[in-house]
């Protein structure tokens, strides 16, 4: 037990700005990633993963439900794993993960970069990186 009691301030006194919204986004997107991975895991089991894949490959699919991730397994037919539905789930997971990650990078950069101008540059680079990597990732997911 810690020595000092925690103190919570109601939202009305804290105010609601972009940083507060991103604070919530970081936590809620973490829960969303857990939910999407659990969903992909259940989907894999429904599609027969229990008899056709080892645990490591099932987890690889759960982390990113892309048909290329089950190519090296004993799954006889990749068609059910490569549907538009699973591509959409993978795309959603990629988008949630990359925005969570890029905001995390901004938070880390803010701790080490004191200058206002440099921080602006980092934010701009982060937005460019988020957009480009997500777009390339979606292309890879859709064409693999």
């Amino acid at each position: 037990m810690s020595d000092s009691k925690s103190r919570t301030v109601p939202l009305s006194k804290r105010g609601l700005n972009f940083e507060t919204l991103m604070w919530y986004f970081t936590r809620l997107s973490a829960l969303a990633m857990y939910a999407l991975m659990l969903f992909a895991l259940i989907g894999a089991l429904v599609m027969g993963a229990r008899n056709q894949m080892n645990f490591a490959d099932v987890m690889r699919w759960a982390f990113m439900p892309n048909a290329a991730h089950v190519q090296s397994t004993n799954v006889p037919d990749l068609a059910p794993w490569a549907t538009t539905f699973w591509k959409a789930v993978a795309g959603l997971l990629l988008f949630v993960a990359s925005s969570h990650g890029v905001h995390g990078l901004v938070v880390i950069a803010d701790d080490y970069i004191p200058g206002k101008g440099a921080r602006k540059v980092i934010r701009l680079l982060s937005i460019v990186m988020l957009a480009s990597v997500t777009a390339i990732g979606l292309y890879v997911l859709w064409t693999s």
């Binding site: 037990m1 009691k5 990078l105 880390i108 990597v133 390339i136």
Partner: protein, 124 residues
């Protein structure tokens, strides 16, 4: 808000933040590790070629697999603890106990997985 540091690197390295600081810094290392890996993985899948084959060989190495699994699992377990404590602030009074629970969840999962990775790599 600018930062002004009046401590040396050596003083910084000797900072004794104990358990909470260890999880804080490992969370950052794990996040950065995954960020670099996922970005490289996406770019290599897009570009292919000999660079792709070279990087795939790195991904398949047991040392890299143990490192990236550490990054992913620790970030996931620690992130869940942070989320639970932040969304239910009354629990923050028990944050040190929560960190012990976190290690009790993380270490067996990571230990068994690392063992399986090593046994697979070394043909055990």
């Amino acid at each position: 808000m600018g930062l002004s540091r009046n401590v040396s690197l050596w003083t910084g390295l000797r900072y004794k933040g104990q358990g909470p600081y260890l999880t804080f810094i490992l969370h950052r290392i794990g996040g950065l590790g995954m960020g670099v890996f996922v970005t490289m993985h996406i770019l290599v899948s897009f570009l292919g070629g000999s660079v792709g084959l070279f990087l795939n060989d790195i991904y398949k190495h047991w040392a890299f697999q143990i490192f990236i699994f550490f990054c992913a699992l620790f970030h996931a377990v620690n992130g869940l603890r942070i989320t639970i404590l932040d969304l239910f602030p009354k629990l923050i009074d028990h944050h040190r106990e929560a960190i012990w629970i976190e290690w009790a969840v993380f270490l067996p999962l990571f230990g068994v997985s690392a063992l399986v990775i090593l046994m697979t790599a070394w043909g055990g």
